[in-house]
Each structure stands twice: as C-alpha cells, then as structure tokens.
C-alpha cells in the first residue's frame, strides 16, 4: 500500500490581503450590518416600485433637500430616494442568483471532472477553455445585447459565463482531495460514486467554494450593474441602480444625487461583500485546520 500523500492546504483567494489573526473589527461588523439592511431593502423593494415610478411633471427636476423629496426628483418628477430604494432589488437579487447558480454548476461539473477524470474531465476542460478565452463582460454585452435579453435571461447568461472559472477552482480542490485516505475508505465501503463525490468530497472543499461564492457576488454585482448601465438587461423605466446612473447623466447639473447615490451604493455594497467574504472565509479556513 502506498503511504498517504500529504498535499499542501488549498490556497484561498484573499481579496483584502489580510492573512493575519482573526479579528472581528469594526469594518467587518459595519459591512455585515450594512449588507443585512441592503438585503432587507432588496427583499421588500418590489412593493416600492409602484410608488417609485409615479410621475409628476409639476415636481420634475427638484434638487436634493426639497420638501417631501429628500434626494430631489428626476426629469419625470419621480422621487430619487424611492427610485434608489426600489432599484435595490434588481441590483442585489440578480447577483445573488448569479453567484449561487454558477457555484452550483461548478460543484456539479467541477466535482465530476476532478473525481472521474479521463474523458469527462477532458470534455468539461475543453468547454471551460473556450468559455474562458473571452472576457465575461464582452460575451455578456454581445450575447445579451444582440438578443435583446431581459433581466432574467441576462442573469441566466451570467450564471453560465461565471461558472467556468468556478469549475476550474472546484476541480482543483477536488483533485487535491481524491488521494486522501478518507476517499479510499469510502471507496472500500463500495459507496456509490455520486455519494463519495457529493457527500464526502464536496464538504471538504466547502471553504474554497464559500470564499469563491462571496468573491463572485461582488463581481456579479459590478458586472450586472455595468450591463444595465449600458442599457442591457433592464427595460427603460425600470428602477435599477445601473440604469439610474445612466439616466442621471443628462440631469447631472440639476440633481447630481440621482447618479451619485446609486454609484456610491454600488461601491460600498461591493466593498462590504468583499470585506465580509474575506473575513468569513478566513474563519472557515481556521476551523478547517483544527
């Protein structure tokens, strides 16, 4: 019998570069609370759409701080604060679906490729190679743009486009688990291959998957809002942060809040996701070592 091979611990993607001891500092706490609020607003935002899209020509282009309109109004007299709140849904829900969806695809196909190897690995590998040979942003713009895709079609497209890099990461993690004794033990118990893969190996690559999930959430938020800024994936008139920034350009002199607030929100939410993701994956990794 060959001695068990000691493989190095999987390297984690660290977005804040912090590799030092755990510390639940203020920034992490603030990120967590801030994100929780944003998610709650996103969940109730569909209820606000009706109020947010109410037009009133008399109130058009009020500056921020006007009575009854804290952030002013746009050229159609829509309240910018309500618009921003209502736009939270399409800015947040899509990225959550993209990050989890692409990770699910990665868990299924990455594990298949890593555990089974051979032809399955080769086929999945080549498809991944082709998809990775072009930037996600370019592919998304071209495909979603040409087909005039709506919100959910664009989200589905991004799920597929995000998955190849995840598949590579999960595959690498699984390949590293395969030579370990517990896998051999499971094989000797003649458990089914599906059971070994998804009940025994996958839980061991979970820290890797989770770190990547949070990383993807941030990138998905940026990508989706960039697309809607370009007028792809969101119908005109729908409350959405990216769309609102694009529309706000023409009224920048009258009401700068219309584009500054969502732009700032996108930056802050992405930062919070990255900070929190890094902190949580660090904690998971520490637990994994013990």
């Amino acid at each position: 019998m060959t001695p068990p091979k000691i493989t190095p611990r999987t390297r984690m993607i660290s977005i804040t570069g912090k590799t030092k001891k755990k510390r639940m500092d203020l920034t992490v706490l603030l990120s967590g609370v801030g994100l929780a609020i944003v998610f709650i607003v996103a969940a109730i935002s569909p209820l606000l759409i009706e109020a947010a899209t109410k037009q009133s020509i008399l109130d058009a282009l009020l500056p921020p701080g006007s009575p009854g309109h804290l952030l002013g109004t746009d050229e159609l007299g829509r309240d910018v604060l309500l618009l921003t709140l209502a736009g939270t849904g399409s800015a947040i829900v899509g990225p959550v679906v993209i990050a989890t969806g692409s990770m699910l695809l990665a868990i299924i196909f990455g594990t298949l490729a890593g555990y089974l190897g051979g032809t399955v690995d080769a086929i999945i590998g080549r498809i991944v190679d082709v998809l990775l040979s072009l930037p996600v942003m370019l592919l998304a713009i071209v495909v979603a743009g040409i087909f005039g895709a709506g919100y959910w079609v664009t989200v589905t497209l991004l799920v597929i486009l995000f998955s190849p890099s995840d598949i590579r990461i999960v595959r690498a993690g699984v390949t590293e688990q395969v030579p370990r004794p517990y896998v051999e033990a499971a094989q000797m118990l003649s458990l089914s291959r599906a059971r070994i893969m998804y009940r025994h190996i996958v839980p061991n690559v979970w820290p890797l998957i989770f770190a990547n999930l949070m990383l993807n959430l941030g990138i998905a938020l940026v990508t989706l809002s960039s697309l809607s800024f370009l007028g792809i994936g969101v119908a005109p008139g729908t409350p959405d942060w990216g769309r609102q920034i694009a529309d706000g350009r023409s009224v920048m002199a009258d009401n700068p809040a219309m584009l500054l607030i969502p732009a700032l929100l996108i930056v802050l939410v992405t930062m919070a996701i990255n900070l929190l993701g890094d902190h949580l994956s660090e904690r998971l990794r520490e637990r994994g070592i013990q």
């Binding site: 977005i15 071209v142 087909f147 960039s226 500054l260």
Partner: protein
C-alpha cells in the same frame, strides 16, 4: 558563480539547444490548442447572424428599405443561398485576409471603421496601463515591506476600493468631480489630436487604471511578501548582504507572478474599456462595440469579438512562454521531461 559558468562549453551549448527544442515544442502545442479555441470562437461568432432574433435579411439590411431588389442584393452579397458551412468558410477566409464585410449602420467596410477608432483605444489602454504600473508596483512593494503598519493598511484599503468600484461608477464620480464641480478636464469627446487628446484621455485613463492598479498592487504585495519570507531571502540575510541587494533578489523573484498576471489584467481592461469609452463618449473600439450591439450591427460585433479573442490568445501564449523564460524551476521541469 552560477551553475552555467561551471559547465563545460559544449555541455552548455547542448543545454541551450535542448532549451530551444523544448521552447519550440511547448510553443507548438500551445499554438495548436489556441488555434482550436479560436476556430470554435469564430464559428460561434459567425453563427451570431443566424441566431439573432428576427429575419436575417432584415437584420442585414438595417434601416435600408426592404425592396425585392435590395433583398436580392443582400442574399447575393452574403451568399445566403449557399450552405451554412460554406458561408462560414467564405467568411473566415475573408476575415483572415482582413475583410470583415461591411458595417450595416455606417455603410463602410468594417476594417475602415475599426482602424479609424483603434488609435484612441490603444492610447487609452496604454495610458491607463502606464498610470497603473507607475502607481501600483511601488505601492505594492512598500506595502509588503511595511506589512501590518498603517501605510500598508491604507494601501490595502485603497486597492480594495479600486477593486470594488465598477469602472462606470468611478468614471461617473470622476466626471462629476473634475469636469462638473471643478471643471479642469473636458467631460466628453476624444479631443483634436496631440496634447488635446491626452488631456481628454486623462480622466478615462484614471478611471480605468484604478481597477488595473488594484489588481497589480495586490499581486505585487502578495508576491513580494512571499519572497521576503522565503528561504532564499533568509539565506541572503544570513550571508550579510546589504538590504538593497536583498530587495533586488526579492523583486526579481516576485516579478514572475506579476508578469504572468497580464492575462487577468487584459481581461479586466477589455471589459473596462467598453464602459469607460461609453461614459466619456470616446470614439474608440469599446464604444463602437456598445453602439454596434445596440444597433445590431452584427459584422462589426463579429470583427471586434474575433479580434479580442485573437489578442487574448496571443497574450496567453506569450505569458505561458514567459514562464519558461523567467522561471528556472519551470524550465528545469520542462527540460527533464
């Protein structure tokens, strides 16, 4: 004295020869793989015309009137009566000769449209890359040397902002600050050439450089940090080398992962350029793509997609080969195969 100096002259020349052979073999395998991928991409790109919603002839006609003569002319121009595969081979052969057909929207050869706009994009990319390089590399090195101190934390926070801020949000914020509130820079357009263009490109380049700089800074910091903790550096310190030499050794070793991150950076630049050019209304390739997509000007979209794929493929190969040239460990592994 290094190992090469210790070798006999003839031994050294066989080593050089076999290195060349290894390089050629690796390059050959790489080229074949990349060509296969480009072939698949070109096929998918070509299919775009036929997969796009709506009638092909109508899409190709654009805003022109649909008289029977015009329809017949389009059918003849695009050989629509030929079998699909034959049309693909016609198209790819023409594309290889630099002929991507005619832009539907502009009624000009795609090549003419592209070459008129290539200059701006190239200038924007080079300028932003330069800004990123000059700021990020020293910042990353300093940050690694002062790990955990206030300056390191500040630099890490800055790069987190650069990494989290989408190019368009950053571009809009810059536009508002430096073209509206404090009007130092022009808000729109590409300028009238020379210094004026440079002036127009400054804000867009900074917006684009933030993301690239953030990636570069993190790469540099991580690489230098890893090298500073390596045995080679401990040994160099033990030998009592001056700190300046130690820094040079660390930087040389750290250069490998930084150089090989070029692919990642290129991917970022391509996405960012489209956005930044659109925000600042720069007449470059990125804004051309955005317009072409919205107007369903498919020949232009096809040409840009294919060119970007070819560019990225070339960079990937160069990066892969640079591993062989820069990293003695990889080279030794390849030689002993």
């Amino acid at each position: 004295m290094t190992a090469t100096e210790l070798m006999q002259p003839d031994e050294q020349s066989t080593r050089t020869k076999s290195l060349v052979r290894v390089l050629a073999r690796t390059l050959g395998i790489r080229l074949l793989g990349v060509l296969a991928i480009l072939l698949v991409i070109s096929f998918l790109t070509f299919s775009l015309v036929y997969l796009a919603p709506g009638d092909i002839v109508k899409n190709l006609l654009g805003n022109r009137p649909t008289s029977p003569e015009a329809v017949a002319a389009i059918r003849a121009q695009y050989n629509l009566d030929d079998p699909f595969l034959m049309r693909y081979f016609d198209w790819i052969l023409n594309a290889l000769r630099g002929d991507f057909g005619e832009s539907i929207r502009l009624q000009q050869p795609v090549t003419t449209v592209l070459s008129a706009r290539l200059g701006y994009t190239f200038a924007l990319m080079s300028l932003s890359f330069l800004v990123a390089l000059v700021v990020a590399i020293p910042m990353g090195v300093l940050s690694a040397e002062r790990e955990g101190r206030a300056s390191d934390r500040l630099a890490s926070t800055l790069s987190l902002v650069g990494l989290s801020a989408p190019s368009f949000a950053l571009a809009i914020l810059l536009l508002y600050l430096f073209a509206m509130l404090i009007p130092i820079f022009p808000a729109y357009g590409g300028g009238s050439g020379g210094l004026d263009t440079l002036w127009h490109l400054t804000l867009p380049a900074v917006a684009l450089a933030a993301g690239i700089g953030a990636i570069l800074m993190r790469m540099t910091r991580a690489a230098v940090l890893r090298e500073l903790q390596s045995d080679a550096i401990t040994f160099a310190r033990a030998r009592g080398l001056p700190e300046r030499d130690i820094r040079f050794i660390a930087l040389r070793a750290a250069a490998i992962p930084i150089v090989t991150s070029a692919g990642l950076i290129l991917t970022f630049i391509v996405g960012g350029t489209i956005i930044v050019e659109t925000v600042f209304a720069l007449p470059g390739i990125g804004s051309l793509l955005q317009e072409a997509v919205l107007f369903k000007d498919i020949p232009v979209v096809q040409a840009i997609t294919l060119l970007v794929a070819a560019l990225i493929a070339t960079i990937t190969i160069v990066v892969d080969m640079s591993y062989l040239l820069f990293d003695p460990r990889v080279r030794a592994k390849e030689l002993n195969k």
